[in-house]
Symmetry: C2
Subunit: 230 residues, 2 copies
Amino acid sequence: MSRGTNGSGHGSGCDNGAPKAVVARLSLYLRHLEAMLKAGDETVSSNRLGAALEITDAQVRKDLANFGQFGYPGIGYRVAELRASIRSVLGTNRDWNVALIGVGNIGRALLGYSGFSERGFHIVAAFDNSPEVIGQRFGAIEVHPLADLPKLARELDLELAVLAVPAAGLEDAMAAVAAAGLAGILNFAPMQPRVPSDLSVVSVDLGQHLEQLAFQVTKRRTVPTLEASA
Amino acid sequence: MSRGTNGSGHGSGCDNGAPKAVVARLSLYLRHLEAMLKAGDETVSSNRLGAALEITDAQVRKDLANFGQFGYPGIGYRVAELRASIRSVLGTNRDWNVALIGVGNIGRALLGYSGFSERGFHIVAAFDNSPEVIGQRFGAIEVHPLADLPKLARELDLELAVLAVPAAGLEDAMAAVAAAGLAGILNFAPMQPRVPSDLSVVSVDLGQHLEQLAFQVTKRRTVPTLEASA
DNA sequence: CTGTGTGAATGGTTTCACAGCC
DNA sequence: GGCTGTGAAACCATTCACACAG
């Protein structure tokens, strides 16, 4: 329970399986910690960190407690140190080489998206099956035929893949990624894939988020929400 | 409790606030129902619908029970009818006119993304503050200065906005959208915004999803996961 | 028989409240 | 004084199990 001697602040390391929603919030904490770093803040309390995210202080502490002891009673958390700890937990304390599969609309946007490399995810190769885009260059990246994935995966040390292919091509692309030995997929196809085991998949369905928004708006208009009183 | 006379299947309509995770699954049900429609299936049981999504049959039934009575004992759910009911619940049984704010990398991709219009969300106007892109055309869409948003919002009956602006411009853009009287925002800026009330916001942070993926991969490598036995 | 709708039971997440530390 | 870490309580979500309908 005690902190030990020095202020390393890195307690036990992660012990268990992740409570899922917690990991999503870890990313949010990270965002805010980085904003605070720029603002020059040295420490932050669970109370202030939670307020920025509209969650309770206890939630923040419980979340972090899943992965070790990072705080200092009476002080709070040291911003730079907590940032490093969370990055270590998430596995983003290093760079990742990423393959882009599917160079259509979405794929091209992701190639130019600075948000990925800012967080250490570098798209270093692009693949497609359409003869029209194979060989084209986008910035420093040339589009390769999907068949070259296994070879380039070894040469470039690719670990993750971003899948921006149409729903119809999803299963094939996933199989290719799995066969090339990559470890994880970020999937943009609007379809829940059958995951080939020993591959981690996170899916983002842009249409689904708009549907969520439509629901919220529709609900709000139907049920006038009893706020604004007090 | 009884069904009444005819097979309309639309029980009460939504009664309460939405259990949140349920709405996300509604979108998934919708996807699968549409695939089944194409495949020519007439009915589906909660069991089969759940299996496709790797959730239990009871979960499917409970989710749907939030919004009415849609099933037929001994039969299951009529695919076309359930699809219509879910779309009605989500508010996607009609078209929505959407404004795109921010025509950078991500914004341009979204302009060309067919997944939105397939679900009834039509980007009918684009806005930006940078003189470089104002006046440019992308397909049928011309980029307007953000100051024109209020006028065009009325003329084009805009209801939702997709925000693809850098994090620094987020608060300003949100204020502009709120002032123009739109009802909801789909936010792609990697920042949790302070929501201006009477505006619904759904955020998608692409970097965050890659971080989730990195965590899963890292965890799997550290804890070898005791499966594959039995 | 098949399969829904739903109360009861289970499991997980969030909040509360407080002991301990600075 | 302020603040973390954590058991206990409250809350919410999922699963189970069964009465009822076709």
